[in-house]
Symmetry: C2
Subunit: 461 residues, 2 copies
């Protein structure tokens, strides 16, 4: 708990315009998308790396916990100030510092909204691929902190693959720069990627240099329905095994289709019990080079028993097809008021049996489950749906999550494909990593943060 | 220095078939491709992770330095047993453990020869892109240790981008597994990539799981000559700025062309003072989807003043075109008997002026320099050529290297694009990383290796 002396010292360090303590400020930065919540004692919005340095030195000296935060769109409680302390809100450091169109790189501050960045570089014909569902609100710093993926990872990889170098401030107040703005570098250890995905537990990222690539100039989208969601998964597997590289390969299971049908009323879903959205993109304006891939994908669809397909190369029609997939976030609430949303990743070939097992887990607990997946990556979004006002159901949902993680690890999977571990998955970390692995992670944490002030009890334990 | 008691204890740990001390064995594992050399006291060839564990525990207890080694193709002295001790030769652990063609992954041991692995997966239509010039001899463990790149990184990235998970043995003898065999994972810290590129200073990698992609089914290669090597570089820059993504974009400067001309006698080089090799590849057998890229590349070649071009889609003719680039390793010795070979990487847009500056540095020191480059990455192989028997020339060559690195860092470049730091570049590390950055790297080293036995005085300082 910060006392009034602490608060006035903090104000004298960074200025009163950067320190907030009104109840409405504390509430605004008390939660993330996981619904976990706890009030910070104080909120501060640094305007520079030097501000961050001052705040962290101050906090390290007084052993005050610091909770870094972008837009609060995280799914695992990663930015929730569990022990009060300081909410370090990075949204004021939100500038694009440089777009280097000759070298296809950009330098940005962490508070920049991902969507704004993507749209800005797109105007120059450039593409920054990471594309989590929260892109319109998420800060780029937050996406670096969790190594965010998204819809197009199957072709373009994840955030880690685009980060070239970072400036970061350690809890003891060192401003460090790791990596190089060059396409390759093997100088020293890869501290850049150690920080990517470390969920704000090692250092505060204050500047990010990323690689850009040429923006696709055309896309071809196919939406396919199936009478059995296993056929949809089988189609996805066949597409990947045939050596096709779609830029999206999204799966919706029977319950997901059901929710989308009720929510959107879309007639395409009327007889469907599984949906696959397949997209290819091209650097060529006319997309003529995609012809062969499209025809091979259609062969697979026919041979795997697709019920109905829609296809388009038109950007506007594309949005309509995507709407069926993108409506899922609100649509899942059609069947229950609360959800526990996990993002396991498994070897792709395990998807059919894992989806079956997930349905069994839910059934055994008397709750519903909605599965949708980045099927090309084996990355399944498992949404256990329940009534949060019913304590027994809530308990079943939480037990279902634990069973999900145990099963995932047994199937050579990982607890998180793109959300991170944060707070909510931390109790399950030991399912995936033994004591030896976790010990060295804890020791690395201690190297960076000897006083343990930075986002304590998150990501690793 | 190991005494006879140490040696017999080591034999009792791993068996006498795995321990070698004959002078010819010591010589065989005393050097790498950098020409640095020092005899180990003993050579051991572990056959399992447990052997590695025993050897490392033994060495940690007795504080004996251990030098891990694949095929010894490193360019920076990274595997040279500078202080004697144990040469830990990983070549007996050279099996492909699994190729999973459904999930596009493979699990291999570190001693496996990269070329053998690439050819084996190719037979299944699969592609493992990393392709250093030493691929026919290099062990895959060595390429992971230095995060090797190669000819096709401009399109396909580097080793780091393909490593999914690692088993590694720490110097204190813990067998750890980091990462997951899934396409995405953000569980815990990214220790996998901390180990990739750590040049055998943190742990011994004993098993590697990599991602595979579909193998290209066709290629189109263009060889172009120029009367001025700046025109060749300008062409390379234009190709990248036009949003083309070649799978190779190789540059040879005037002196490189001169060496290749003398060595190969190829008439194509007769009037050339600069060469560019441009290659595109495709997943389609007929490569029809490349047409537009090829025609745009040819427009650039014409507008940038290419003197002559050859082009082919035929695999055999392709080999002939590549021969002009690939002959450079022996050909550089046409102008001097010794070389210092560095692999700086700079922002691509700096290439023209950096190549000029390199030529000036060499001229000022009265020696020759041969530059060739992975021009799409800004990764230049700078070969200062001199007579090693002439101490004054040798001194000039070494001073030229120091000036090269100083200039590189000034131009926002990095000391190494793909060779690593090893021993030879270590004195220059502080040009690129300040004390704060190096301190935390040293502390990480100490976490893994408290006794400092594992490849001491390499990679970081």
């Amino acid at each position: 708990m910060l006392d009034s002396g602490d608060i006035s010292d903090l104000i004298s360090l960074v200025g009163k315009d950067r320190v907030f303590s009104a109840p409405e400020d504390l509430v605004a930065y008390s939660y993330d998308a996981s619904r976990a919540q706890n009030l910070p004692d104080i909120v501060t919005t640094p305007g520079s790396s030097e501000d961050v340095q001052k705040i962290l030195r101050f906090a390290s000296e007084r052993r005050i916990p610091v909770y870094p935060r972008g837009s609060g769109t995280g799914m695992t409680g990663g930015s929730v100030p569990e022990q009060g302390g300081i909410a370090l809100v990075m949204t004021s450091m939100n500038r694009i510092l440089d777009i280097d169109s000759r070298n296809l790189t950009a330098r940005v501050q962490p508070g920049l909204i991902l969507h704004e960045f993507k749209e800005t570089v797109k105007k120059q014909g450039l593409f920054y691929p990471p594309d989590p569902a929260s892109a319109k609100f998420a800060s780029i710093g937050g996406t670096v902190a969790v190594n965010a993926g998204g819809l197009n990872s199957v072709k373009y990889g994840v955030t880690r693959d685009y980060v070239l170098s970072l400036e970061a401030v350690t809890p003891i107040g060192d401003i460090l720069r790791f990596g190089a703005s060059t396409m390759k570098s093997v100088t020293g250890y890869d501290m850049t990627r150690l920080l990517v995905g470390s969920e704000g537990t090692l250092a505060i990222i204050t500047e990010i240099t990323v690689k850009l690539i040429p923006h696709p100039r055309s896309r071809f989208t196919i939406l396919a329905s199936f009478t059995d969601d296993q056929d949809a998964l089988n189609t996805a597997q066949q597409i990947m095994e045939k050596g096709l590289i779609p830029c999206a390969l999204e799966f919706m299971d029977e319950t997901a289709v059901h929710c989308a049908r009720i929510y959107s009323g879309h007639p395409f879903l009327n007889h469907a019990a599984g949906v696959l959205l397949i997209e290819f993109d091209s650097l060529q304006e006319n997309g003529m080079d995609l012809r062969q891939d499209i025809s091979r994908a259609k062969e697979v669809l026919a041979s795997c028993g697709a019920l109905e397909t829609r296809e388009t190369a038109d950007p506007k029609e594309r949005e309509e097809l995507w709407e069926i997939r993108k409506c899922l976030s609100p649509a899942v609430y059609e069947i229950a008021p609360s959800k526990l949303n996990e993002d396991i990743c498994i070897p792709r070939s395990e998807m059919i049996s894992v989806i079956q097992e997930i349905k069994t887990i839910a059934r055994n607990h008397g709750i519903n489950v909605v599965n949708f997946a980045h099927a090309g990556d084996g990355n399944i979004h498992v949404n256990f749906m329940y009534d949060g006002k019913n304590p027994e159901q809530a308990d079943h949902a939480h037990r279902a999550v634990e069973e999900l993680f145990r099963m995932t690890v047994k199937r050579r999977g990982t607890l998180s494909g793109e959300h991170g571990i944060g707070r909510t998955k931390l109790p399950f970390l030991s399912l995936e990593y033994g004591e030896g692995e976790r010990k060295i992670m804890r020791e690395i944490k201690k190297l960076f943060d000897p006083e343990g002030i930075l986002n304590p009890n998150k990501s690793i334990m």
